[in-house]
Assembly symmetry: C2
Homo-oligomer: 109 residues x 2
């Protein structure tokens, strides 16, 4: 049983992708009716650090990743159907050992 939404209705989809780490992390932005923003993304194998401005919820749509939130001592594994939250003005390390990890990133005010 997955808690991750399959789709988002009545949104504006931005055609240009967001490209990070030479394309190892890419996403498309959607704007929801309440003006909140999400990105639908893919992370290829590798290790990456992202800083946060707003707080973020990362929902895993496919694949597996290993995550260490800034200030935490523990690394946690997340797979399809699971999510993790990152505080504002913080950051996280995320590693994908093989394949592609797909996510929905929600920005939380």
């Amino acid at each position: 049983m997955s808690s991750v939404p399959a789709d988002f209705t009545n949104v504006t989809a931005v055609a240009k992708a967001n490209v990070y780490f030479d394309g190892k992390v890419v996403s498309h932005t959607i704007l929801l009716p309440d003006n909140s923003k999400k990105t639908l993304g893919l992370i290829y194998a590798g290790e990456y650090h992202f800083g946060t401005d707003k707080a973020e919820r990362m929902e895993i749509v496919a694949g597996v990743c290993e995550v260490k939130i800034k200030g935490s001592d523990s690394k946690c594994i997340y797979e399809a159907g699971q999510y993790f939250d990152v505080p504002a003005k913080s950051g996280f390390d995320i590693a994908v050992s093989s394949g592609i990890c797909e996510y929905i990133c929600s920005f939380i005010d």
Copy 2:
């Protein structure tokens, strides 16, 4: 002056990506209010063949690609702001020599 739309409003965005060629070509699907379908995609460096069922219009959002439509003798270069059409029940070869080529694919009835 680009003829390529920057965004699409009032659509349904599918969270799960479409992944082809081990992730060298990926896209997110959007469903428009008229029930037509588009995909917002990225093509990493390489050469790929796609068959078409419906006719397709490929609009280039970023980057450059070299395209040979099935049955055509010529290869053509397309870059951001340009598009090419592919007939139904046909196909095309597309090559990206470096970087990432981003596209909007529209399926035409």
